[in-house]
Every structure is written in C-alpha cells, then in structure tokens.
Amino acid sequence: MKAVCWMGKEKIEVHTVKDPEIINPHDAIIRVTRTAICGSDLHLYGGFIPTMESGDILGHEFMGIVEEVGPEVKKLKRGDRVVIPFTIACGNCFFCKDNLWSLCDNSNPNAHIAEELYGYSGSALFGFSHIYGGYAGGQAQYARIPFADVGPIKIENDLADDKVLFLSDIFPTGYQGAENANIKPGDTVAVWGCGPVGIFAVASAFMLGAEKVIAIDRFPERLKLARDLGAITIKYDEKEVNIVEALRDLSGGVGPDSCIDAVGIEAHSSTAVGIYDKVEQAMMLETDSPFVLRQAIQAIRKGGTLSIPGVYGGVLNKVNFGAAFGKGIKMAMGQTNMHKYLKPLLQRIEEGQLDPSFIISHIIGIEQAPKLYPIWQKKQEQVTKIVIDPWMDTIRPEVDGRVLLAN
C-alpha cells in the first residue's frame, strides 16, 4: 500500500510499504477512504515532537471500510463503515471506565518512555511518535486498528465521508476545548487560533451557550471562517493590536470568562519574548513556545477558566504563574477523551446542527501530501483544512470546487 511517511524534520515522503496485518486478537484492518492532515501533524513535520523515527507512517484523522477483523472482535464485521478516534483505548481500565479515554492505561506499548518524561503514560495515539506508542497512522491506504470493538464508531447513514471524518479528532477536540472552558449561558469566550480545532471550539462554545465569542488568528481566511460562525475576530498583529487590551475592551473591562488556547507549542510572536523563545528552543533550554498561554493568563478575567486543547510537549519558560494564582483561575487541558464524544457529536451532525466539512479547503490524492505539508505550515494558498483520498477514487472536482488535482 501507499503511505505518507515521516522521514526526518520537514521531510515527508510517500512510500510503498507492506499492507498492515492483524497483530492482536482485538485488531481490525480498514481500507482508508478519507484521511486528513491535522495541525498537530505540522508539529511532527517541524520536528517539535521527540521520538519520531524515519519511516513512521503519519496520520491520526481517518475513516474507512472494515476489511478484516481479529478473532476476538465482536461488534465490527467486514464492510462496516467506521470513523476511527485518534486516541487508542482498551475500554476496561480505571481511566476508560471513568470516561478519561485519552488516559487509558493499556494501549501504549512504550509506556515506559512516557513514564520517564511525564511520570505516567497517557493512551497511545495513531501516527504520533513513539512516546505515544509508535502505532502506524492513517495517512495510508490501509490501517490497523487496535481495540476495534472499543474505538471505531459505525456510520450507518449516507452522510458523505467529508461530513463525518472530523469526528476522528478536530470536532471532538474543539468541543472538549469548549466543554473544559466551563462556559455558562451568556459568557464571553476568547479563542486563540482559528485552525480547525479553534474553529470547532468557536462553534462548540456557541453550542454550549456562549453569548460572545472572540477569535484570534493571523490569517484572514481562517478569521473569515470564525466570523461565518458568528464570532468577533481580532487579527493578531503585534504592531497594531494589543490582544490583552482588545479583550478587555470587548468584555466590558472585565476580561473573558473563559479563554481557549487552540494554538499550543508553536505559537508565533515577533516580540522580544517570542525571539527569546526561539533562542531557548534552539538551545534546547525550552521545548515549547508558550506565547499564547502567557497572553491568555494575562487576559482572562478573575476566577475564569483557561482551557488548553492546543498541544504542549515539554518544558515552558517565563509563564506568569503568579498571574494565574493571583486571579484564582482554573485550568483544564489534555488530549481529547474521544470515545466520550463520538456518539453525541455524530448526532449533532445527523441533526444538521453543524456540517463540519465547511472547513475543508483542499482535497488531494495521497501522492500530493508531501507537497501540501509545507504549504500549510507556511499558511500559503489559503489552506484551512486538507483532506486526502488515498485511493483517488472519490474526488469529484466538478461538484467539489476545492480540489487540488494530481500533478
């Protein structure tokens, strides 16, 4: 099969590799019909996540048709159409039973590496470095799915792949970002980052009753998506706009009730502190660039809730913990407890509350993935979301209008 492989920092190649096989009794193999490049894949592309190895198959947003099931799979059969949550969970440990699926005890074969760095290991993820299990990802024509009775959600309607694909990560991740923000009806919510997760956080904040949602980003095409959802947008440009002041003014001098950092480790800043982060990262004194986190801690109202769906991987410097303490704020963060959200969010899509496909700007074949990673990283060609048809058999340029054709 063809698969998108990480071959080094800023080096992505498509290779022909052997088809996946059943390894464990609860595995299934699916034929991938749709997959996507996630903003967090750009962290891998840029070399910000440790324990990636040459040859790792990328991709954790994908769906497809069940080809084969292991001897102990009871709920799935060949031919079922499924969306795969990007976190892998056993379904029977203390954490799974407590709905903390992304903290599953039993899915990461490399738990000892995570224990070295984090004390304890979270669940494994598809295609997201060896510290998270080293599982081959879904930017491929086939994929192996462990614990197939626990994770995959069957799609038993005729909705197009592009409408349900984002149940695999970004819709639930944006939703959990909003849910963790403790939003009450009438609240003002600020969202940093209008990438896919930020956009779904904006949409979810409204679903949860927010009165006013303020969205912050650097790029007009992303800000437009947020405005289309009803948000007030701030174009992030340090020379002209002071974000903390803008948020104070927009929230009646109080500060937003909730702040959502949907940016994470690679926040951009050209200020002195931003340059300081770049130098520290280069010198390995700091792994993450927490610019948004600093700003959100400063901007949030007293007693507010800061929710962090953006990915962090390591050590942060110059975070004003005193401000967080002084204002008595609450923080909530972590990988998404995917399995908890699949059914309710599928229902919202089926009821027509949201058509998640609105964020797609590009539909491509698998061979074009290596070309599109750098384009999205540099935010060129107005990319908002790239989906891949690994078989190039369902792209319909005449109806789609968003297609980037094969070379």
Binding site: M1, A3, C5, M7, E13, H15, V17, K18, D19, P20, E21, I23, N24, P25, H26, T51, E53, S54, G55, D56, I57, E72, I88, C90, G91, N92, C93, F94, K97, D105, N106, S107, N108, P109, N110, A111, H112, I113, A124, H130, G133, G134, Y135, A136, A140, R144, P146, F147
Partner: protein
C-alpha cells in the same frame, strides 16, 4: 479462597519497597492496581504454563511437581537463539493472596513474591511484585545479557504491566511487525527500543 484487604497506612511513616543492587543481586519492585478480582488474578498467576504469554523472554515453563517447575528462558522469536534453563520452586502459597518462589538450580539465583490485595478504594486489586535476580558472572552472565533486552529492574516493571494489560484489556499492546517506511540506519538500531522488535509477549484473553 479468602481475599486480603489493602492495609490502611493511615498514621504510619512511608517505608520504601525493596529496590537496588547489592553484591550483584538486583532487586526491583512494581505495583499496579488491576481492575479485576484478586482470586481471578491469583489463578492466572498460579498457572505457570501461561507465563510465556505475559513475561518477557520466557520460552516455556513446565510444572515438574505441585510446587516445582522447569524454566526455559531466551528469545521466543529466535528458534536457534541462546537458551538458559533452570528449576524453580514455590516457597509460599496463600490462595488468593500471595505466591513466593525461588530458583533451585545452582547456576541461576532468583527469588521473589507477588501479593494480591483488594484495593481499599474499591478499584480492583492491588498487586505488588518484588523480585531479586543475581546476574551470574562469566559465560552464563553473558548468555543472560544476550537474551534480555531490558535491564532486570525494568523487566520486573514491564512484566507486571503486561500482566495488568492482559487481565484488563485481554491483550498486550504491541506494534511488533507493523508496517512502516524505510527506517534508515539509526532508526534500524532504535527499532527495538520503540517496541517494533521489542520482546513483547503475545498476550491473549484466551483464559482457557
């Protein structure tokens, strides 16, 4: 079978469990809370023939009497690889609560114990494994080193982790033999570290 309850440590001072190296003997401990009954876990541990499913580097264990067994250790994947054989006996057996053992072959020295206690919080069973291994000197020591990819202390922790995974998830998570692109030279060296060629035992929910 009677189940032991986790003792309350309220009002006591923390006493570390055994860990460390002394005169060539490596002692390590591992603690896990497993979402299963103590009786069930005790039964699984009592069946020595199933050890190769969840202990790393164990090729086979054959009972030789009610309390003794014969062990073959090595890399199960490598048919022609080195093998170390020894006998072991159970020194204490409290149904549903505790098993202790020691090796009885002169060339190998290893002993340990596992206890099962009902977790006070109602979260299943608290399992504590304490094991001591003396890595032998000379040719046999080299043979041990060549069949064991992890240090002895980490092996103790991994074995109890595998036991928990098998009991809770019905399998031991593994990426051994999965698809990947070209690894390159450095990646090839690191493959074992990242699990793809790790000594992960097969693990199965087959409880027969």
């Amino acid at each position: 079978m009677e189940t032991a309850k986790e003792a309350s440590l309220a009002g006591t001072m923390y006493a570390p469990l055994p860990e460390g190296t002394n005169d060539g003997r490596v002692t390590a401990h591992a603690v896990q809370t497993i979402n299963a009954d103590a009786e069930e876990l005790y039964k699984v541990w009592s069946d020595v023939t199933r050890f190769p499913r969840w202990q790393e580097h164990v090729v086979s264990v054959t009972p030789t009497s009610k309390t003794t067994s014969h062990w073959v250790v090595g890399n199960p994947e490598d048919q022609d690889g080195k093998r170390i054989e020894f006998d072991s006996e159970i020194t204490e057996d409290v149904a549903g609560q505790k098993i202790a053992w020691q090796s009885i072959s002169p060339e190998v020295e290893q002993y340990g114990s596992v206890t099962f206690k009902q977790a006070a919080s109602g979260r299943g069973t608290l399992v504590t494994l304490i094991q001591t291994v003396k890595v032998p000197a000379g040719r046999l020591g080299n043979a041990v080193a060549s069949v064991v990819a992890r240090g002895p202390a980490q092996t103790v922790k991994e074995n109890l982790r595998h036991f928990k995974e098998m009991a809770e998830a019905g399998e031991i998570p593994s990426v051994a033999g999965q698809s990947h692109g070209p690894r390159g030279i450095v990646g090839g060296i690191k493959e074992w570290m990242y699990g793809e060629t790790n000594p992960t035992p097969p693990g199965s929910s087959d409880r027969s």
